[in-house]
């Protein structure tokens, strides 16, 4: 069995989807936590000056979507055929822009007025644009998942993003999207994921002090 390590800050952030994938697959991993005080020095040793990293038998992989996809593939959570795998990629990429904008105004924007403006636009325009499309994709696919008939890494990745937005931006955000609400709850209530979330103790708060870029 490969030895897995997640190298990241002590937060949910971009590594939470990995941890949920490991829990569904029943695979052990080590959480190597980099404290924010140690980050400036540690940063120099990372390939792109960023975290998270996945270490597999001492080899390292960077870029969170790449890591998620790799783990999805290792644990048979990547669709039943090349087309379904491509759809997983498409839905994850389509929701990445939304999360990157959230990261931008939440943690990187220093101008208070601009921050408020970006957040307002996020709620009024960006969320509806993305969620309305995702809602109809979910509805069309039927069942509990976004792609095909089985759980994929895209379900975990996207459900996690929906949870972030609900927790940090607007607790009522999914009220207008009943299929997405049902989907998120279905994925996060899967027994192994639920068990992991309940005992993890990680929070979505506290990122402000830790984001390196």
């Amino acid at each position: 069995m490969a030895q897995y390590k997640i190298i990241y800050f002590g937060i949910k952030g971009r590594a939470e989807a990995f941890r949920m994938i490991f829990s569904v697959a029943d695979v052990k991993y080590e959480d190597v936590i980099i404290k924010s005080g140690d980050w400036p020095a540690y940063k120099q040793s990372t390939p792109w000056g960023q975290l998270p990293l996945l270490e597999v038998d001492r080899k390292q992989l960077a870029q969170s979507s790449t890591i998620c996809r790799y783990l999805g593939r290792q644990f048979n959570l990547c669709g039943e055929n090349p087309w379904e795998s491509a759809k997983c990629d498409e839905y994850v990429d389509a929701t990445n822009d939304l999360i990157e904008e959230w990261v931008g105004f939440t943690f990187l924007e220093t101008d208070e007025a601009k921050k408020a403006e970006r957040k307002a636009k996020f709620i009024a325009t960006l969320i509806p644009n993305c969620f309305s499309k995702l809602e109809s994709i979910k509805e069309k696919n039927g069942g509990d998942f976004l792609v095909g008939k089985k759980l994929t890494w895209a379900d975990i990745n996207v459900a996690d993003k929906l949870q972030i937005i609900e927790d940090d931006v607007d607790p009522t955000v999914l009220e207008g999207y009943p299929n997405l609400k049902k989907f998120k709850n279905a994925v996060l209530s899967l027994p192994k994921i639920k068990a992991y979330v309940e005992k993890s103790g990680y929070s979505y708060k506290g990122l402000e002090n830790n984001l390196g870029e």
Binding site: Q63, P82, A86, K87, D89, N129
Partner: protein, 210 residues
């Protein structure tokens, strides 16, 4: 099987797909939407926009199906044409280097779309300084450690196409030549552009500003 590709009249984020299509011998209808005078962002005609799942391009229609998101599209065809390394780990490393190449391309968008000449020159200088360490030295090291011509493994991958495209595009759009002084980067680009199908595509592809 007929393929219809919708994108702007530009190389941009979608050019690696056209390079992959060239390598795979795929014939397709290449629908090119005018880019206009960016910034401000270009307009996608309504009849196309409503066909696009996310209201964005690129989008590819074939066999009654639709796929969007540039990297998802490219990865699907890269797999078909054996451009994804020889195992899952190599495929993942290729994904990582594509992600980083895309970040590298996007960091250069503000300087190269800046209209004020003085500001543009300043931004180009700043971006050069920022990207030499983060991307050029890192990629050069990776290529050198892998035998000097390719990013991953023994054969051409879609990560090689991406990096070569970014460096080539910076030159075409802004006259910025970053591979100079990095022999491994230059060898990678030369190898990619000497590949017969890529060479033929580059010679016949429509000229566009971006």
């Amino acid at each position: 099987m007929s393929y219809k590709l919708y994108y702007f009249d530009a190389r941009g984020l979608n050019e690696p797909l056209r390079m992959i299509f060239a390598l795979g011998g795929v014939e397709y209808e290449d629908v090119r939407i005018p880019l206009g005078d960016i910034p401000p962002p270009p307009t996608i005609p309504a009849e196309i926009k409503e066909k696009c799942t996310w209201g964005q391009v690129p989008m590819l229609e074939f066999d009654g199906r639709k796929i969007c998101q540039s990297l998802a599209m490219q990865r699907y065809f890269a797999k078909k044409f054996n451009l994804v390394g020889s195992d899952d780990w190599e495929a993942a490393q290729i994904d990582e280097y594509v992600d980083s190449s895309k970040d590298f391309l996007q960091v250069w968008v503000p300087p190269l779309t800046e209209k004020d000449p003085a500001k543009r020159e300043e931004l180009i200088k700043e971006t050069k300084a920022k990207t030499v360490d983060k991307y050029l030295k890192t990629f050069d090291k990776i290529i050198s450690a892998n035998g000097g011509k390719r990013l991953v493994g023994k054969n051409l991958s879609w990560a090689d196409l991406w990096l070569a495209h970014v460096l080539n595009n910076l030159e075409l759009v802004g006259g910025v030549k970053l591979a100079e002084g990095f022999p491994a980067l230059k060898a990678l680009c030369d190898t990619v552009f000497a590949t017969p199908e890529i060479k033929a595509w580059v010679e016949k592809r429509p000229k566009s500003k971006f």
